[in-house]
Every structure is written in C-alpha cells, then in structure tokens.
Symmetry: C2
Subunit: 282 residues, 2 copies
C-alpha cells in the first residue's frame, strides 16, 4: 500500500472531529479500531486529543489523562471540551466523550484532563539517561501474519490489528504460541498499516496499542484500562517507533502498564502509565 | 513528641475540609506545608483527596491526577467537586481548588480527575515483581538536622521539613553538601514528624514530599510540577515508608519524576509519575 501522509491516513479519518459549536464536537467511533469487542483505549485517547488540540490555544498534548468510565461502542459520539486555563506557554482543558442509548439519553464513556503546549517551542537539550529497548531488528520480528504457528487465537474482533504494523519482539510473543514467558513485558516495533508517519496524536494511540502484558503473565480474560496518563515529550521523527511496556506491580486485582515510545532517532518521545483491572468485581 | 493517631495529626488538621453545600468545601492552605515559597504539591493533592473521599461514594483514592495551574498561597480556598460516575466498585470525580484575589475574583489553582474504590475490598494476591529500594537502615540515614555539614542551604521557607520525618539515603544527599551525584535519583525514609501512621491520603503527600531529583542532577532554580498522577494500590501498614524517586528523561525543559512508596511490610503501596518544568518559558 502506498504510504499516506499525515492527515490523509485512516488514522486521521477515524480520529476526525467536527466542531458544531464552541467546545462541542461530533465524532464517530470506528469499528476498525476494536480488539476483543472493545474500542481500543489509545484510539479513544487520540480522538480526544484531536478535539482538545482544536479547543485549546496550544497545539500539542504534553500530559493527557483519561479515565475510562463505560465501554465505548462503534458509532456516533459527542465530545465536549472545557478550557480550564489558557496560559502563555501551556494551557489545560477537559474533555468528555458521550454516546447515546436507544432512548436518546447520554452515557459518558471517557473523561480526560490534559495540558497542552507547543513541542516545537521546546529547547532541544537532551539529558535522557533512559536507553532504547533492546528489540531485535525490525526484519526479524514477526508480524501478525508471520507469528510462529500462524495468527494467534483471539476471540472476537481483531480489527485494530489490520490498522497497525506491529512487529512483536519474539521474547514477548510466547503467549501467541501458548508459551507465555511469565514476565510482565511486551515490546514491539509500531507503525500504522497505511504507512503514515507518527505524530504527537498517533503517539497517544501507540501507548495503548500493543497486546497486554497480561498475556505474557498467563492471565486470561479482559484487562480493561481504568485510567491512562501519557506524556508526549518530543515530536517523533518519521519511521517506525519502538514501544516497550513493563508491568511490575500486579496485585490486588490491578496492574500497571508502563509504556515507553522511542522514535527512529532514539529519542524517548512518549511515556505513559495505565492502571488496569485484572479481576472484575461484582 | 507523642505519636498521634490517624485523624488527630497536624496532617489531618491541615488537610481538613468543611462541606458547606453539596460538592462545595471550604479549606485553608496551611503555611506549614510550604517549601521555597511554594505550597507543597503533595499536600495539595492530599487535601483534594480528602474532599473527593467525602464527595464520592467510595472511600479510597485509586488513581488521582492533578494539574497544577497557578501557584497556591497559604490562606483560604474553596474546593468544588463533581461526581462523574458512581459505579458499583469504583467511582470517578473531579475537583477544582480556587483561591481569591483581593478584588474577590477567583483564580483556579489545581484541577483534579480521580477514580476511587475501596482498598479493603481488594483481593489480597500479590505478584509484584518490583523490589523495595536499597535504602540503608533508618538509623544510618541522616535526618535534616544531622546531614553532614548541617542543614542544607535552601532559600525561602522550609516549613514542610518540620512536618516530616525524612531521612535521606546518603547516596542521594550529595546535593546537601554541594556534591550532587549527577544521577536522577532521590530516596528517603518518610514519616510524619508527629508520628502519625500512613494511610491512603498521606500517601498522596508522600509521593511529592522529597527533595527534587533535580538537586542531584545539578539543576538550580524552581522545578514546578505541571501534572502528577498517583496510584494508591494498598492500605499502608503502620511504620515508616520508603520512597524512591527516579528521573530518566530530562529533556526539552521538562523532566519526569517516578516515585515508588513501599511500606514496612515491603508492599509497593503507591506509585506516581509527575511531569515538571525545568526551564520556565516566557
């Protein structure tokens, strides 16, 4: 497929919002970004990020927190934003995504609190001591179609996997052949299937687009995200990203997933942490 | 000083809120929790946490995000809360803290988005792979009065240091004698000076109560918090806490501080990440 530019990708199409009044946006949650019957949380975060980028006076997400309240479904949605503070170099806002029941009443899906700035205005110093993840070269990491033993068995929709160009680190792909490592780790090369280069909004997708570390820890069942906070630290360079996710605190029916996103110039362009539930309470 | 119980500590007194109407609370920001002219961010987080614990149907913070908008000052404040969703095992809410200018108009200091639950209702399984920090025993870690060379020179108020029983890991205390390590690390034993045992609310203070890692990295000047997200994962056991903070991504005028809080039973009871600015833009 020919590489598409930023703005003309299916990612852009499916995260588009239409402002119908100040602070009110129409959106459509695409079925193309679902996994195991759930609309992917990173896709929803990117969608909210696009609305906030329009609502706030600064263009780029710096810190974005989402609380996932009820399960989104493909279909129409409305996003309402509020400007909390418009500063000189940063601004802060909230966003609420709702969908509609058959009787027309609203149900809120996500609530977001975020601060935005201008990544282009930041000084270019780098004193990062973190190191890029040790993922084998792109060519030897299996894509979904080339995983040993064929496509992993996941019940329900795997539509999102057709939107992404994911190549898992074999060391974190044991779950796909019934041999989970037992370690809370997941690593992959990440890109969009239509070749669109990354940008700050697609980083919001990238932090929540890998298989869950729970798969490698031998946990079965759904591990829904309760809350996710992402920091966007630099505009990503063109080319594939490397995403490394770690879980170190699986306890009490919850776990955290820490994600790092590295670009092709070895910059740590995004960091996130999510809190997810491993045991659904009554 | 005799050990005080949870509820009767200066921490409880200074984070108390009075509900004057549904969702509206009066508070007083105490000058006792300031450092270098700023009201400590963890103290503010705990104060908001107390209000939300009253406003929401679940008692304990699970995930709390604060965006620090303008600098708080000691004095009166009003907190307004909103219930976003009241679920069966978790609920979500927002909180806004405002103070008043001389002309009576409001200025917002913090905006918080948080999900609450009941820590006592969680199953007791622990598969945490993270390990407690290697801090030397309490007895050999210097308190503020016993730091080599005497009390570190910090200009402006150090009132909060009188509220806390902090004992720094000597390996992260080089800054106090003009010899910063250059590493983005800060570790300490943490308690309250009046001996109050920790609880979920005081964990919100603990994640932001150590000297900044910036001190060890040789950065001078103020490093204000833009946003902080804390996960409270377990009710802490009585006794001192160990707090370990790490910075790995100092770049572009920002840095992150990742904090882990361990209790006396070697449980990882809280984790947080904050985004802070190292260079104040115009």
């Amino acid at each position: 497929m020919a590489t598409v530019t930023i703005g003309s990708s299916e990612f852009d199409r499916d995260t588009a919002v239409t402002r119908r009044a100040p602070g009110v946006y129409d959106a459509h949650l695409s079925a193309g970004w679902t996994i195991i019957q759930a609309v992917n949380g990173g896709y929803l975060l990117a969608l909210m990020g696009r609305a906030l980028g329009d609502a706030l006076p600064h263009p780029d997400p710096f810190s974005v927190t989402a609380h996932y309240l009820t399960a989104s479904v493909p279909g129409p949605a409305v996003i309402r934003t509020e400007v909390v503070r418009a500063g000189r170099s940063m601004s802060t806002g909230t966003a609420s995504l709702v969908q509609f029941r058959e009787d027309g009443t609203e149900v809120e899906r996500l609530r977001v609190l975020a601060s935005y700035g201008d990544l282009s205005a930041l000084p270019d110093d780098v004193r990062t001591t973190a190191k890029p993840p040790a993922i084998p070269p792109y060519e030897i990491c299996p894509g979904a179609d080339s995983a040993p033993g064929g496509r992993p068995a996941i019940s329900g929709s795997t539509a999102i996997t057709e939107r992404l160009a994911l190549r898992l680190d074999p060391a974190t792909a044991g779950w796909a052949v019934g041999a989970p490592s037992g370690k809370g780790e997941m690593r992959a090369w990440f890109g969009l299937a239509d070749g669109r280069d990354p940008d700050p909004l697609s980083l919001l997708l990238a932090v929540d687009a890998l298989p869950p570390t729970a798969f490698e820890m031998g946990l079965s069942g759904w591990v829904p995200t309760v809350e996710l906070t992402a920091h966007i630290r630099h505009r990503p360079a063109p080319g594939p990203l490397r995403v490394a996710i770690t879980t170190r605190n699986l306890a009490g029916g919850f776990l955290e997933e820490d994600a790092e996103v590295w670009d092709s110039e070895d910059r740590l362009v995004a960091q996130s942490r999510q809190l997810a539930r491993t045991v659904l309470h009554g």
